[in-house]
Symmetry: C2
Subunit: 457 residues, 2 copies
């Protein structure tokens, strides 16, 4: 996938060299000669990936990386550090600063392109999620981006697919300081385990006896159940070609043998952080959608949900046989409660009321806040007698125990009137049934409140 790459280096010839290389591969480039300029470009959202020189006067590459990765606005942009020194200590400092990878000068073209392509592709999917999540922030529904920088990447469940006992034990030993590790030497068993779920990451040896570890990676990347789980390949130095192949089809990262313990920890942590960020974005979207059909005060479904689902229930021919009933519940003299004890007390009463109604209904029933102090309960598969019995039980429970308000400093006696109706064969829509329940409710109020009335036969 094409992308705009930000090249950060204080030496003009280095910038030019990378610009030319990337340009020939049809990447778009943009350059910055120092850290602050690079940060400004990232904050404006003008690049998809950063190639970051380590040694620069003023703010060095590690500092720039740390800044980008701790800022919710830029934390999702992949950063590849570039340095002349192939020192494990430098690699580690970069990874600790949150870098996604490390390249050493002179930069090897294959490594550069495969890395950049792989990171850009992963970002394309995250970007889509991130855009939706940004929208939810605009509407004032939470701030999922803050999660990106809060996540530690520790305490993960890791599947280690490795059949060399010594190597497996060394890696597991290091990882177990911060994570739970399952070692599985058999690739087929590993695939089953991974499919059952619950792992945050898998490490896959490319040197399994009699089995191509890369094929296992491709299977894990192809299945819905395991597609979102990050993969890290573990390979011999001479096996670079297969590593590039793996990156090309979507494996997230790799480690070369002999595996450096600290590099192992850093790369695992980066991948776990990224996965959890993506999961959090998905979760936030799901929660936002849930909010759209939930009443904020009581946590019950709202009228929008009721209207959508009741319409569907009515349209469903099959549902006609077992019966369908509606209760409309209205707190008696609720206005007086609000006026005497204040709105906050009124809200507390509504919440407790909602809770009591929910306790006496089943998961299959729809319980929705209908208006200010009204709740509607839809009972699929209930006849009139059953609906009446449920209504009566709720009415008794509301009356039996006074409602506690003002942080449990007072109690208020509350009663409820309930109208009950069932579907008639000649009903044109759910509105007809609700109207009969409403008329029954009116009769309950007129007959002195704290009563259940049913529709006229």
């Amino acid at each position: 996938m094409s992308a705009r790459v930000l090249i950060v280096d204080d030496l003009f010839p280095n910038v030019k060299l990378l610009e030319t290389k990337l340009g020939l591969e049809y990447f778009d480039t943009i350059a910055a000669m120092n850290g602050p300029d690079a940060i400004a470009i990232c904050e404006k959202g003008l690049c998809d990936l950063v190639l970051l020189d380590v040694m620069m006067p003023g703010m060095d590459g590690f500092e720039v990386c740390r800044y980008l990765k701790n800022n919710p606005v830029t934390a999702h942009i992949p950063v590849v550090m570039v340095t002349a020194l192939d020192q494990p200590s430098d690699r580690l400092r970069g990874l600790d600063a949150g870098a996604d990878d490390f390249l050493t000068k002179p930069v090897d073209d294959t490594a550069l392109f495969s890395r950049v392509r792989s990171l850009v592709r992963l970002k394309a999917v995250t970007d889509e999620l991130r855009q939706r999540a940004l929208a939810s922030r605009e509407f004032g529904i939470g701030d999922p981006l803050a999660l990106a920088t809060a996540e530690t990447g520790l305490d993960a469940r890791i599947l280690l697919i490795e059949d060399r006992p010594g190597s497996a034990e060394r890696m597991a030993g290091a990882l177990r300081q911060h994570h739970a590790v399952t070692i599985e030497p058999d690739p087929q068993a590993a695939l089953r385990l991974a499919t059952e779920g619950g792992f945050d990451l898998a490490l896959v040896s490319l040197d399994l006896a009699g089995f191509d570890g890369l094929r296992l990676c491709s299977q894990l990347r192809s299945q819905d159940a395991t597609r979102a789980m990050p993969l890290i390949m573990v390979a011999e130095e001479h096996d670079r070609a297969r590593v590039v192949r793996g990156l090309d089809f979507g494996v997230h990262d790799f480690l070369m043998r002999p595996v450096d313990r600290n590099e192992l920890m850093a790369r695992v942590r980066t991948q776990v952080k990224r996965k959890r960020f993506t999961d959090a974005l998905r979760g936030a979207m799901q929660a936002s959608l849930q909010l759209a059909v939930t009443d904020a005060l009581t946590g019950l479904h709202n009228r929008r949900y009721l209207d959508n689902h009741l319409g569907a229930l009515f349209a469903d021919e099959a549902a006609r046989r077992p019966g369908l009933a509606a209760l409309i519940l209205d707190i008696d003299r609720f206005k007086a409660i609000n006026d005497s004890y204040g709105h906050e007390a009124g809200d507390e009463v509504l919440r407790t009321f909602a809770e009591r109604v929910r306790q006496d209904t089943r998961p299959v029933d729809i319980v929705a806040r209908y208006g200010g102090e009204e709740i509607v309960v839809i009972l699929p598969e209930a006849g009139l007698a059953e609906a009446r019995a449920i209504a009566e039980r709720i009415r008794e429970k509301v009356e039996a125990l006074p409602f506690s308000v003002q942080r449990a400093t007072r109690t208020i006696p509350v009663t409820v009137s309930i109208g009950v109706a069932i579907r008639h064969p000649e009903d044109a829509g759910p509105g007809d049934m609700l109207k009969r329940a409403d008329i029954a409710l009116y009769r309950a109020k007129a007959a002195g409140r704290n009563r259940v009335e049913q529709q006229a036969a």
Copy 2:
């Protein structure tokens, strides 16, 4: 990106051949020997792409493709038709049936892999959106997937980047039957035009004089403003290598010269359909989020929105200076309206009430339904006198014109009482200001209703 490819062919050796080829490239495969089996696999969501043989006994490939593309559950799965006959008429039948592309036997490996990879990558991004949209359907908020099959792919705005006048006119002539076409021979001007937006698709010649059309494609794919716009390359037969390169970095499709008029129409249509589907999914997500902060009955913001944004306004130090005021508006004797005219009339009154309040407030004000018959208005940058004046204006407008209910067959006189308060420097939070407005509202009710009262000085 790795993926699971469904191979559909009634001849076992053909299946085996494709399985082997794809396996070597680390694709996961699954096979079906006839149309109905293929459809069942797609409906279960077990594949990411379909390689579909045209000639099969029973249901042929065209039929299978048409079925998959007309079914909302499977319409998003890319379909590549495979046939022994390189007849333009067959290509067209396939494209008309909704196929995403066409390969001829014996299948050329480069064409196969570049095509499959490109389609799978595009699908990965759409899948993420689709998953979110499916969730909104579960919650009963619309059905964005139905849009996928309803979209015609016509009436698009197309940017044709081509500097050969004859070729440009021929293509534009065909396209103008169904679309609006802008011809731009200059690549820089085309980039500017595209960035300004509004195009549904761009056709890019790879044979521009003195400019690499592929670079233009890469720039269009790299910029946020143009990334979502589908691109189709137009190339000479000898230029296949560059076409593969383009597909590899994210160009959506290509046409070989001499351009077949019908193939042009079919490919443009397929890409426009796909883009509009993706746009619709994004739009549906946005709408779902909007619903989470909107009151279903009145269309005003809901209490969740009020709580989130009022909290932010209070936290904002800068906002302390220009003042902040709150109105709580409560319809007088609303319960009597409900009881006398029914709930539906009550709802009509609430909707009209909301509309009148909204007419007298500015976009910067927050207008939210607070409880059953209450609306809260937050006025940033307003002092007490100004807030009072706005409240008084609303009160007069409500009283002046009786509310029409029961499909305009009756009118009801309605009045409103309003409590006004402004922020105090010593307020701990927005609740303090709202409480003062509530007390003022109570005084308005006690003093005979249809009045505006303000907080005690």
